[in-house]
């Protein structure tokens, strides 16, 4: 059964819903084969809020993640970027609007079927301390398994690839409670990678990590961008990191999308002044734009 699941997912990915993907691919820039197989993720006129807040955080915004590429959401604290991501991940039910994966409304989809297409790495993840990394990663296979099924060859392959890609093979028999923050993050990333989804949503995956582990995480996302068809949407705090990683960037402020486009169009002194309220120098380097914040703007 489980292999069937895996196969279905794969076939669906290649075929897509009739036409729509091919149309996108031909309309979009000639990215080669990558774009043809990749999955669309669209949020349309999303109104997102929290039960206890009177005003919605996001009030009618649309966003389309570029298939097979990395889209970065940036913005100051409280700009609604994490809320938007949670809305796309169906962790928050939208008050209005809809989220579509390959044209299909996610709220009409079966929970497990959706989890085979769309994965989320939350900002805070908790787990029992005594679970091993390998067991944690195997939990990522949940949506591919039936109620009584044991793990199959396909599960083992997906888990090994995920552990390999996340670079946490040396941690596999360690207990999660004994890991550092950065190592934990790698284990959790391996878990969502094992989920083997077409769309991956990452909520501030580098925040609170040391430099080494930030680079580890960035490299994983770069590998996904360059070598796979996974559509990635990532919320990042660090605008330089975002510019370096992303094919497209979306800048939010006060729950509104203020700008979207390629990194070099977004990371400008004007935008930093407008969205982040800082005066900054922006210099283009071979590693992407370098931002030197000068002072906070008070107006």
């Amino acid at each position: 059964m489980s292999t069937e699941h895996a196969d279905t997912t794969r076939t669906e990915t290649t075929n897509g819903p009739d036409g729509s993907n091919d149309a996108d691919a031909s309309a979009g820039p000639a990215d080669g084969s990558a774009a043809t197989d990749a999955t669309d993720l669209d949020g349309e006129d999303l109104v997102l809020g929290y039960p206890n807040a009177p005003e919605p955080v996001i009030d009618g915004e649309s966003i389309a993640a570029e298939p097979g590429a990395v889209t970065a959401l940036v913005g100051p604290n409280g700009s609604g970027k994490s809320t938007l991501l949670k809305g796309l991940a169906t962790q928050i039910a939208p008050e209005d609007g809809s989220v579509l994966v390959d044209g299909e409304d996610v709220h009409a989809m079966d929970a497990k079927a959706l989890a085979r297409k769309l994965g989320l790495l939350s900002q805070e993840s908790t787990s029992p301390n005594s679970i091993t990394v390998e067991d944690l990663v195997y939990h990522g296979r949940y949506p591919h398994r039936g109620f009584f099924e044991r793990t199959t060859e396909a599960d083992a392959v997906a888990v090994e690839e995920a552990i390999e890609l996340a670079g946490c093979g040396h941690l596999r028999d360690r207990e999660v409670g004994s890991l550092s923050g950065g190592q934990k993050q790698l284990a959790w990333i391996a878990m969502v990678l094992a989920q083997d989804t077409d769309v991956l949503l990452l909520d501030e995956p580098t925040t609170f990590l040391d430099m080494h582990h930030q680079m580890e995480v960035m490299e994983i996302i770069e590998t996904l961008r360059d070598e796979s068809d996974v559509t990635v949407v990532v919320v990042l705090h660090d605008i330089e990191q975002a510019a370096r990683l992303a094919d497209r960037m979306v800048a939010l402020k006060d729950g509104e999308i203020r700008a979207r486009g390629a990194p070099e169009e977004i990371v400008t002194e004007e935008l930093l002044a407008d969205v982040f309220r800082v005066d900054a120098d922006v210099v283009q380097t071979e590693n992407g734009p370098r931002v030197t914040p000068l002072r906070a703007r008070h107006e």
């Binding site: 039960p51 991940a89 169906t90 962790q91 929970a111 497990k112 079927a113 959706l114 989890a115 085979r116 994965g119 989320l120 939350s122 993840s125 908790t126 787990s127 029992p128 301390n129 005594s130 679970i131 390998e134 067991d135 944690l136 195997y138 939990h139 990522g140 949940y142 949506p143 109620f147 009584f148 044991r150 793990t151 060859e153 599960d155 083992a156 392959v157 888990v159 090994e160 690839e161 390999e164 093979g169 989920q195």
Partner: protein, 389 residues
Amino acid sequence: MSGEGSIAAGAARRREDGRIGWLFDPKLVTVALASVAVVVAGGLVQVSFGAYSMTVGEAWRAVLDPAVLLDVHWLLSFLLGEGAMRSLTGFQGELPELAHGTLIVWNIRLPRVFVAALVGMNLGISGAIFQAVTRNELASPFILGVSSGAGLMILLTLVVFGGLSAFLPLIAALGGAVAFLIVYAIAWKNGTSPVRLVLAGVIVGTVFNSLQTGLFFFADDIGVVQSAIQWTTGSLTGTDWDQVRMALPWTVVAVALSLAGSRQLNLLLLGEQTAKSLGMSIEKVRFALSGVAVLAAAASIAVAGIVSFVGLIVPHMVRNLVGSDYKRVIVGCLFVGPALMVAADVGARLGMGVITGADSQIPVGIVTGLIGGPYFLYLMRRQQNMGEL
């Protein structure tokens, strides 16, 4: 990709584990063997001592008496009841005579040990499930209103509807289940959350407990009050094969369901967000698992009343011993629960005799409370942060 080799190795390792490989975890096996030893020792004490005293050797011989063990009619009539045995086997004659000691052991003392073991199992898995569902290691089988609902129904039956007392076990179990549904309804607001469930449990518990205490004033007979106290503190006095027959089928069902649900329980421990993003239908799973836990708790209430602390500390001990994987936790509870319960019942049945020389028994719930309190004190002293799982 360093590739094929490591993938094959990992897959092979998982396959070796297979369906039952995880059972042979050395820690789990040790826990199970130690628990069985406690149950056997406690059981031997229970069958040896009492108004009709035997030596341990006599007790052994009575337990292993071939006149029972090798006689399918006797075994069936104990396990299913004499009527069921006769209609099942078509056996018409008299059951063969048994020795006096064998009769006492098999009719009176052994079933009590079995009931204790079943109650321990049920409370153990019930507590384990509730602790995962509420993600709180201080949760017990009685946290979601189960005990207060059962207690209220017990009081109502004994004080107001005396004519129904024959159905007391069923009514108590039913009261627990209904209270659980009320708690769930109160907690529901676009779905539930562990905190809302626990709070709703407190609300329902407070109201029901007040009603319960109020009902005591209307009890005009000291016998009724004593009976009510026995039920609400949990007691195994006077249990026999009827109780075994009542609890066993539900125990089997609850154990099977909780083992089947262990992977869901493991996933719940990763937090609601993660479980949801992995495609779990949280509300359905949470309700279904709670239902299994209530079933297990109800089975134990029906035969022993409300035994406190067992469901709280058993999953705790097991988790400390075998780790947090719920497959192992559930199996561990199936052994540690009976061990604790059988040992506590030794104290409840014989303790007063040893201490005061009087020939009276105390409810086993008092003994479990006396064990449970200090155990928690010890944990509190040793562990920095308790509470969240």
